[in-house]
Symmetry: D2
Subunit: 405 residues, 4 copies
């Protein structure tokens, strides 16, 4: 916790949530639960969701009129960190990606009938959703290149396309799909976001993509999806036609705060595990790991790096709250690569400290080591964010770096 | 391939093996095979073993009288690199750990009856074996601390103990177990190596330990094993009583060359995958990844680091060949941490180059990213080898660093 | 500037100081001034000091009753950053080490007669001072080991000892010397701080130590000093007898904030130089450096690292202001190594961006590259701070790491 | 020394040279000599040159007919390493840059009259020379952009231009100047190399450029030079007209081996100093630096990195010997950045180990820290070599990376 950013709203909330996480969720981190598919543990997590509701902690991220606390991004970020300290936290609090992003988006831009039919049960945790943007044929760092088309036909859109990394599609009630609706418009105004129920004919979940050896399932999966003549009413449009990229951009600002605070929560927990092991693992008669300078180095560097990253992210969240995401784009790029790399270094040191145990599912770390490697890739690879940040800076020095160099 | 170390014996052999690996084994690297348990692909690999035999490439690592080529460590290392370029290479050539180590050991130290009964089918690939040393209760970096006991009773040993990371125990015909036979001897002379058939009553494979989310099976597994009153004849002793550590040490010298050359093969293949993708993946109209300086940096640094590591390892192999492992202990420590870290950096860059694809089992890299993280831990963690190397060096400067500081 | 920490007091002050620094001091950064000894430029700097006084910017760091602004550490830190953007800033504002530390110390602990005679002219910039603690024979990381003795004789102390890195002794009016006065006390209560006028017989400036090729002179020097039967009145004691380490510790808390904010100012200016050069240096027809990804990487990483370090340091300063240095010792260790390393990386990247020019005194960077390398050594080497931080952390996990391991 | 590359010719020579260096030159590394300008120590070094001649060690790098040993590049590289272990080694053996490069060049390409008049006394050590290529106005990484012109006028060239980093011009008898003679030819065929005696009217040494605070003098200097209507006979042409870049390229292949082996010598000596200090510096009662894991880490990593770099460079030298520089261009790029960075890391760790002492001229390290930073810049910056290497590699994968991207 960082005193600088604590507000009255969250000062009592944070310890309460931490307590819930520690008491109710840490015990679920068994070897079995960390080895099996998500659906194995899902029923237990649903029970925990009931406990969250009972404890009055459900929907904290929502607007007041939806029963939430109308938290600022900076406030929710601090909650997000705590929830991320266990792999089950965000799901149990119904603040998991991509649902939280879809929730935010639909609140602002979905027409009433979609809110009634889809947003409400989503907020209740009764259904799940997915976001279908990335395509295998096109590099993710250039979102204006896209092959999926939505052609108007009568009152409908007819959608054809090929997506992957449509995360959590397995079991989702609906997808929000990015598709080109206006192919002749300027590159950034060609696509729209359209809600597609997953039971629509032609929507096909080809496979849950095996990642680091696991296909995963349910919420913890990343699907390859094809759209073959998928027909949905034009009324399923989110926002206006051609606003797809604008909405995606708007989603990504807060989305990166969510990700980064999640990274920090993971790093913080990894740090905790490292320290606990350092004080308890005997290397030789009467000498524990923590007495070794190499391990002390791991601990000291990790502590400094986590604290620095947290300050950077919460500053950015505060600036978004006060100035809007569009005005702090450079900062948003900055935190993404800085925090993702920090997290992976801390996880790596924690594993190294644990030795062979660190490789196993008897402890959390290997789960994060493999699955969180993606943090340096999705939502803009390191290289993309570094280039974007540098371009933003150099513009102030008078250089207009032409894109792509 | 490194011209400096090519000998006549291997100059025609290496391209032949490379060709086999490329033509017969690369096609097996499908998403399915990289996602399923090892037993799924195993029958196919057995067929490939037959092809190896047919091609006259079986048992190259063995002494001449066993039908091998009497290769030096430096020569075999170069073969090992090529076999490591695919996850199936060493298994198909029957040079996989831990069997290759057990083979070497038994050749030198097993009594004839054990050779007849166990070594012969092991060399033929008819059975598999495992090596049971590491214990969860004791830090691996200090091998003289060990809880497993073998007590003499009549003509037998009765063994009790708890091991883990007994790799490939699942399906193995026998284990070679490290156990304390002489508890009152000097610390380094307490343990012995004893052959235990896995069907001996009291030998229990508790579980294949889930690692990075996978329990694995068959050869590709790491077992937790308990020994409860396991009774074997004293004639199952390998070498002499109390020589357990000495033999383990002798095993580890060449063993580290094997590992390091494997790391280099993995790095080399990852490099190849990175380059192929760099020249083919379009980032924007007409511009491929390889035209970006960030990617060029990955490629240049990887090339230099792989070459440097290979030279270092082959030099060490040559020095072991000429001077014996005991005389190049510092070099052996040096290559272990240097090469393991190099490999992991190269894999990491290759993944980053592939973006989202790099996370998936559609390509080899994530398999290695997760499973090879252990390279910085097993057979001596980085920290152990660095400390050992520094102590060796400082001794020449007149300092006797007391162990454990 | 970091909006989070701006207060009303400094919000108008910072731009005013920045303007002074840019207009009056940047023009002094000529090749000549960066090549010659400090005494060459010193007369000009004295004129600039007059301008500072005229502009009402003198003594900002002092308490209100001394004409200062009673700034908090966090407020002054932000001024310190700006002054550090040129090598002449702190000297011109009379906030240079070690004088600022001696000023703070004497304000609190010097008896009135020393304040009248020494502190007043020090605050006026009429004299300079030095702090004489480090000894060549004893490792700096263990300050309780010290050879300099102050023996009572009548009303005097008679001091004998050998010091080095008594910075700015050349031309200083007095030294504050750490000497053992109570050899039989507990290790941390043996030494005292005593004011010694540099014209006292037996005080000998042996040499200005050549550092990175330069002996330096005047304020910009680091002296080796011997004390041979140096006799001063016991009334020259600062604070009470045996409080030497306590006072040194008290000095070091704020002192590290001063240093770290100075590091940040240097990094920020190096960053600025790097960006300016990146947008103006043509690599080939029509392509400037800033269009290259390698340079963009330097810029992006530097921006993130500087911002993160500044947040970390200002947070620590604020915590010292609110809780006292003794309660944030871990944070103080953290910022020292984190910020020093960050600065050196940024300087290094800025040099690399400048190519051959970066090596020359035609630009500031090489000055900082060579002289600021010491930042990772003085006031506690990286290794010392990392160890201290880890020990502090592990204590909370129940481990009392015995010192020195 | 690396057994793999020792030949009969050098097996007895290397220890002999090492002995000379240790006995005759190490004692010259006093604080004074490391602080003063080069001319201060130069007379002593001339005496040492006489000793070299007397010991029969002069001119080893020359062809047999010039009294040399006709050493291969790989053989001489190993001598070069030893000479580089002290800042005075190469000068005393007359193998210092840029004279050694000019010697090699003139042997092959200078007309007889220039050999008689200039090469002979150069080989004797009677005169010194310089190489005048780099221009402040054009980025060094693109050598085809050049402003210096040599216009034919009668039998002469009239040269006008502005150069800098004309190293060792101060006191040199002649310069070899790169100038455009054929402005209308293809970019790589525009320039020629012309010998210009430094007493030719119009040759003006503007200044020895201050670098890291020092202007330097004599051999140890880097001049800014202007050519104003400098008139020399066309007979002073080295090689043929328009061959300037080709000759420069030919010079750079072996030149990079020379540099890299020098880097390795410096790293090796820094390593030695680090180890010596580690075993002797007491940190606390009875505990020396070398017992600390942080220092052990420095030592172990440095040992591995030096050995790896040496193998890489000597392999490359051998390949140049056997295949010609043009065929191992990728390897040459590889060793340059790999070795320069390695050296700087080792120097940095050695300084850190020495603490405050490491900053001073009481020990060699700070000299190298500041002056060898240029190793990552001259003769192709890291970034240039990485890009070149990657382009070379990717060409084999079918990509022709257009220059400058």
């Amino acid at each position: 916790m960082e005193r600088l950013f604590i507000t009255e709203k969250i000062s009592t909330l944070l310890p309460k949530i931490k307590e819930f996480v520690v008491n109710e969720l840490y015990p679920l981190e068994t070897t079995e639960n960390l080895t099996h598919h998500f659906s194995y543990i899902e029923p237990v997590l649903q029970q925990k969701r009931a406990l969250v509701k009972k404890a009055g902690l459900w929907g904290l991220h929502l607007p007041e009129k939806e029963g939430g606390l109308e938290l600022s991004l900076c406030e929710f970020g601090q909650i997000s960190e705590i929830l991320a300290m266990t792999p089950f936290g965000h799901f149990v609090f119904n603040t998991q990606a991509p649902d939280i992003g879809n929730t935010e988006l639909m609140h602002k831009y979905a027409p009433k009938h979609l809110k009634d039919q889809y947003l409400k049960p989503l907020m209740d945790g009764a259904i799940r959703s997915c976001f279908s943007m990335t395509e295998p044929e096109f590099a993710g760092s250039n979102p204006t290149r896209m092959g999926t088309m939505a052609i108007k036909d009568g009152d409908d859109y007819v959608i054809n396309g090929h997506k992957w990394f449509t995360s959590s599609a397995d079991g989702a009630a609906f997808a929000i799909v990015m598709a080109v609706t206006n192919p002749d418009a300027a590159p950034h105004k060609r696509a729209s976001q359209i809600l597609v129920p997953t039971d629509t004919p032609g929507f096909k979940l080809v496979r849950n993509i095996p990642i680091m050896g696991h296909a995963g399932d349910s919420w913890a999966s990343h699907a390859e999806v094809t759209y073959e003549n998928v027909r949905v009413p034009q009324a399923n449009l989110i926002g206006v036609e051609g606003a797809g990229f604008l909405l995606a951009q708007e989603r990504l600002g807060p989305g990166r705060i969510h990700h980064c605070m999640r990274f920090i929560g993971i790093a913080e927990r990894s740090f905790e595990l490292m320290c606990r092991y350092a004080v308890s693992r005997e290397m030789e008669e009467g000498v524990v790991l923590g007495e070794k300078q190499f391990i002390q180095g791991f601990i000291a560097e990790s502590r400094a790096e986590i604290d620095a990253a947290r300050l950077l992210v919460l500053r950015t969240a505060k600036n978004i709250d006060e100035q809007g995401a569009a005005n702090v784009r450079d900062e948003i790029s900055m935190i993404k690569f800085f925090t993702a790399n920090m997290m992976l270094r801390v996880i790596d040191r924690a594993i190294q400290t644990h030795g062979a145990l660190g490789m196993t599912n008897d402890i959390l770390l290997s789960h994060w080591y493999s699955h969180e490697r993606a943090a340096r890739i999705y939502d803009g690879a390191d290289e993309v964010h570094k280039t974007a940040l540098a371009r933003g800076i150099l513009k102030d020095y008078g250089l207009d770096v032409r894109k792509g160099k």
